[in-house]
């Protein structure tokens, strides 16, 4: 029998129902062996169809993601999975990698996942596992890697170590604070339980870690209620820690207080060893548990341990107590705290985890707790416990009563404040989470994704539409928007938004908000070249800060940055550096080193190092910042683009022009990935074109600069408009078209002249450009005047080295040589050489060194010192061809000088 016959019979039967196949074969095929064979093939076909056999090519499944080797799968949700993974470079460490499952990557799921990753990246708390890296697999599935916590579940840890009640409460407070931090960042956990609260030992001390933040939110529920939460019989895991509103299957309506409820269950278990709602029936279905949860009120924890059963005795022993002692310890405060957290009506629960933690703290400090029956006797007892000594000493009841009355009034006021604050925090968490989702859902015209600028515009509109009634929240968000505008180079819009935020902050008179807005405004003013206004705002910020006994670190750091900006504007670089170092230290001490703020401070610091010509130091800092951003999942941010562009500027200053061009091109590529079809920001375009100019690619540079100037004008970014125009003028000079450059340069001089202190280095460089124009046009005397003015502006010869001083010295040497003042020319060129050699990482790679050598060589030759001239020319050729390339006109000029040594004599 041939394979052709087999195939014909196989295909004839393939689409028949299995029952009909035998009959059909019996009718059409007389050979029983062949019939049997065909049936076997058909069975193999059905099975293959079912399993998708051989469809997957053999090694399409990655066991490696990003820089991580996946070791084993440690968790799985409806749409995502979690792997234990190992990274070998840059350091060997273990991480947990979360990844969207293949085949579930709908736009919706990926958007949620991304939202989740961003939320996680925003959180920076020692008790929250942080993001290590984020990215996308080759087949387009997003993933992120988080710190892997090798801890054990909270309750297990406490029992194993037989922790007493106070120690347990201490750990619980830390957990509440971590959850509070998340809420402030707009993340609701929704799945708090001991399995997600791990305790790791750090330096011999227990440190709780909240894990699985919102994995449920990211990959299972959220806007679309998933099956896991809509079908009781299919509830994943145990519903024991779930709030009634979650169990009622309305995931849409779950807010931060659901986490408060879950924390209440965890506290109950920590204290008693039992769950508030565990039925004794081991066969209870989830549905039965949910029913009990919804219909019964939990008993007081103390009553749970009082019953004479073996479990409570064991629980008590785990806490170093007898069951009677444990019951006594729990009765009162702790009973009330737990029951308040477990209220079915969330309006009667604590408003936030921090409110819950505050009450636990009050209990530990023997102060009256908010929860519980507010009987006079109870309060008096608490008051007495705290003021045991003064009360016994007090002579009469009357004195005590007055003191008591005053105390109570004060406390009531404090508590009301705290409650308001907690409510505000909770509302803010929800609002910002909702706000982010709404913003991400906006799409641009024709359904294309929004550009970053449009996104921020939409955000501002959305704020007006939906959050006008909540000025505090609106002001905070406006502040965020203004910073995003600044990142995007839109000084004007940033200013407009800040004016609105400032008005709100003044009206509601919130010193924290006011300080933050004023400080942000300082930077905007300086960007807009208005130092006087900036000074006023800085004074306002200082006044607001003085009213705050403990300013939040973020506010304090923002204001230190503003102080440093101001000092930098006044050319007081020592103060600027010291101020930024202080900000850096503050963030490091409070372990706030993962957020964008820390990176911003490092970048500012790099700017100061740059302006004081400490380029090598600045480069090291720049590399550190880039690395930290990549590691913290911020490789795809505008901030990261800026860091790359700064690297280009630094390499440029070090004379490594080709390296600078590569770095700038990389920055542009990163930016394009981020901004899609949007043109590069003015900052990026200018940075890139400066390198192009130096490489002799003037045409390209001018095209970019013209577009950058237009864009900066549209964005209202005066600072960048002027800088773009300046480099446009320089490009024309370098291309040998001085006449066209002149009018452009005059306009720039007027603009920078308005703030001559801050722009001193820029003006000095501008005078050099003027000198070059005159040199090109043959006005040697005029050129010498300009270059003298340039050097004077730099403060030469006493000057601290400024970024463009070396270039000015080289130009000066050329002009003096042309004027026949060879002695001066030689000393200027020697100074230029010394300066650039001191700056360069490797003098043989520096264009600045090369150019200085080239001028020096021609001066030496003119003075008749041919031997020295030759050796300078050789060194110049090497440096120039390394840094600018073989084809560059300066390199060719150097080569020509090498070939024709006797032409000049």
């Amino acid at each position: 029998m041939s394979i052709g016959t087999e195939r014909a019979l196989f295909e004839a039967c393939m689409d028949l129902a299995p029952g009909q196949r035998t009959a059909w074969l019996a009718e059409h095929c007389g050979d029983p062996a062949l019939r049997e064979r065909i049936l076997r093939l058909l069975r193999a076909h059905d099975a293959a169809q079912e399993n998708g056999s051989l469809e997957q090519s053999p090694i399409a499944t990655a066991r490696r993601i990003g820089t991580f080797d996946l070791l084993e799968r440690i968790g799985e949700g409806a749409m995502g999975e979690v792997w234990l993974a190992e990274q070998t470079a840059p350091v060997r460490r273990r991480v947990a990698v979360k990844i969207v499952k293949a085949g579930t990557g709908s736009r919706e799921v990926i958007a949620r996942f991304e939202l989740e990753r961003q939320a996680l990246a925003m959180m920076s708390h020692p008790s929250i596992a942080h993001i290590v890296e984020a990215g996308e697999t080759a087949d387009g599935r997003p993933y992120f890697a988080m710190e892997y916590v090798p801890g054990i579940a909270l309750t297990k840890y406490c029992d194993q170590h037989r922790l007493g009640i106070d120690e347990r409460l201490g750990l619980f407070i830390l957990i509440c604070e971590a959850v509070q931090h998340a809420h402030q960042k707009g993340v609701i956990h929704r799945d708090l339980k001991p399995g997600n609260l791990l305790v790791a030992e750090v330096d011999g001390r227990p440190l709780p870690k909240v894990i699985d933040f919102g994995i449920a939110k990211a990959v299972a529920l959220d806007r679309q209620p998933s099956h896991a939460h809509t079908m009781i019989g299919h509830l994943i895991g145990t519903p024991e820690y779930m709030s009634p509103e979650q169990a009622q299957l309305s995931p849409l309506d779950v807010d931060t207080r659901a986490d408060v409820y879950s924390l209440g269950v965890v506290l109950h278990e920590l204290l008693t060893g039992a769950l508030p709602f565990k039925t004794s029936d081991p066969n209870a279905t989830p549905a039965m548990l949910v029913h009990e949860l919804l219909t019964h009120d939990p008993a007081a924890p103390s009553s749970r341990v009082r019953v004479a059963a073996p479990e409570p005795q064991e629980s008590a022993a785990n806490r170093g107590l007898t069951s009677r002692q444990l019951a006594a310890r729990l009765a009162g405060d702790l009973d009330w705290i737990v029951l308040k957290a477990l209220q079915k009506d969330r309006n009667r629960r604590y408003g936030s985890p921090s409110e819950l933690a505050a009450d636990v703290r009050r209990h530990l400090a023997d102060e009256p707790v908010v929860a519980g029956p507010p009987s006079t006797l109870y309060r008096l007892r608490k008051f007495a416990a705290r003021h045991r000594l003064p009360l016994t000493l007090a002579a009469g009841v009357f004195v005590a009563a007055i003191a008591f009355g005053a105390m109570m009034a004060w406390q009531a006021h404090q508590l009301a404040l705290q409650r308001d604050e907690a409510r505000f925090q909770a509302r803010r968490a929800e609002a910002s989470s909702e706000f982010m989702s709404l913003m991400l859902e906006e799409v641009g015209p024709e359904g294309r994704p929004l550009s970053p600028l449009e996104l921020v515009d939409k955000g501002v509109q959305l704020l007006d539409r939906r959050y006008g009634a909540d000025p505090q929240f609106a002001a905070r968000m406006l502040l965020q928007m203004s910073r995003r505008y600044m990142d995007l180079g839109s000084t004007e819009k940033s200013g407009q938004v800040l004016v609105r935020a400032l008005a709100i902050a003044r009206e509601i008179d919130d010193p924290d908000l006011l300080a933050d807005v004023e400080c942000t405004t300082v930077r905007a003013d300086l960007d807009a070249n208005r130092p006087e206004l900036a000074k006023e705002h800085l004074a306002g910020a200082r006044a607001a800060l003085a009213r705050l006994p403990h300013a939040p670190i973020v506010t304090e750091v923002d204001c230190l940055r503003a102080e440093a900006d101001m000092a930098e504007n006044d050319r007081d670089f020592a103060t600027a550096e010291a101020t930024l170092r202080k900000a850096q230290q503050l963030l490091e001490q409070s372990e706030n080193t993962r957020g964008l703020l820390y990176h911003a401070v490092l970048t500012d610091l790099g700017g100061v190092l740059f302006r004081t010509s400490r380029f090598r130091e600045a480069l090291a800092l720049n590399e550190l910042t880039a690395d930290a951003l990549d590691r913290n999942g911020r490789g795809g941010t505008l901030g990261r683009v800026t860091v790359s562009m700064n690297r280009a500027s630094l390499l440029m200053r070090l004379g490594e022009v080709r390296g600078a061009e590569a770095a700038a091109a990389e920055a542009i590529r990163r930016s394009q990935r981020l901004r899609g079809s949007e043109p590069a920001t003015p900052m990026q375009a200018v940075g890139y074109s400066i390198t192009l100019n130096r490489l002799g690619r003037h045409e390209e540079a001018r095209k970019l600069l013209t577009a950058a100037r237009e864009q900066a004008r549209t964005l209202g970014a005066e600072f960048w408009t002027v800088i773009a125009q300046y480099h446009l003028a320089r490009s024309l000079v370098l291309a040998g078209r001085p006449a066209e450059a002149r009018p452009l340069l005059d306009e720039v001089r007027t603009a920078w002249g308005a703030n001559a202190t801050a722009n001193r280095d820029r003006l000095a460089d501008l005078y050099r450009t003027q000198a070059e124009i005159d040199l090109l046009q043959g006005n040697i005397a005029q050129a010498r005047e300009w270059i003298d003015q340039s050097l004077a502006e730099f403060g030469y010869p006493k000057a601290d080295p400024a970024p463009f001083l070396g270039a000015a010295l080289t130009t000066a040497a050329q002009i003096y040589a042309k004027a026949g003042q060879l002695h001066e020319a030689e000393s200027l060129a020697t100074a230029a050489l010394k300066l650039s050699e001191g700056i360069a990482r490797d003098p043989r790679q520096s264009a600045d060194v090369g150019e200085a050598l080239l001028v020096l060589a021609s001066v030496k030759r003119a003075r008749g010192d041919e031997t020295t001239a030759q050796s300078y020319v050789e060194r110049a050729t090497e440096a120039l061809s390394n840094s600018l390339g073989q084809e560059h006109s300066l390199t060719r000029q150097a080569n020509a000088m090498q070939l024709q040594p006797t032409n000049v004599k």
Partner: protein
């Protein structure tokens, strides 16, 4: 290798030059192997070894400038054979490593496939040899689909037949192989 060389080999193979076909296979094999190794060694975000991507990349890199159907068919045929050899060698190597180590497979440079998948690769490859003697065309379809990871449409394009034909070929060939492997 110069740009024109592959085109020249493809043209020669098209006119029945057996040696040219062998040389072509050698070139494609070297290129694929180099690509696979560099892909796996590069420590970059999100790379997986996707045979389809590799084969396509090899095609682009070797850039035969004649795009005749005949040439495409020869090229992808050679690529699928080369990919098959890479995968089979790799699977054999890993099984040998595993036997030698007596424990878990170590992460050798090409190690990303799970052990069961290695067995699949070897079993399919052996069964495919038998099928090739019965019906060379079917074996070619399997080779492109399974070893080069091509979709039905891509396979159809490579062999210049309709996707419907490939679907039917694939259904039978797969049943045949699965029945044999058991």
């Amino acid at each position: 290798m110069s740009d024109g060389e592959v085109t020249r080999l493809l043209d020669a193979a098209g006119s029945g030059d057996r040696a040219a076909l062998d040389r072509l296979y050698g070139q494609v094999y070297d290129e694929l192997r180099r690509l696979a190794e560099s892909r796996l060694r590069r420590e970059r975000a999100g790379h997986t070894l996707q045979p389809t991507a590799l084969v396509n990349e090899a095609y682009l890199r070797l850039s035969p400038d004649s795009s005749s159907w005949e040439n495409r068919r020869h090229f992808f045929g050679a690529a699928a054979q080369a990919m098959r050899r890479i995968l089979v060698d790799h699977a054999r190597q890993k099984l040998a490593d595993k036997r030698a180590a007596g424990a878990r497979v170590t992460l050798a440079d090409l190690d990303i496939a799970a052990p069961e998948e290695d067995l699949d690769v070897l079993a399919v490859s052996d069964a495919l040899d038998v099928l090739a003697q019965e019906d060379p065309r079917l074996s070619e379809v399997v080779s492109l689909r399974f070893f080069a990871g091509m979709s039905v449409e891509e396979t159809a394009r490579a062999l210049d037949v309709s996707p419907m034909t490939i679907k039917r070929d694939w259904a039978f060939a797969r049943a045949w192989l699965c029945e044999r492997i058991g």
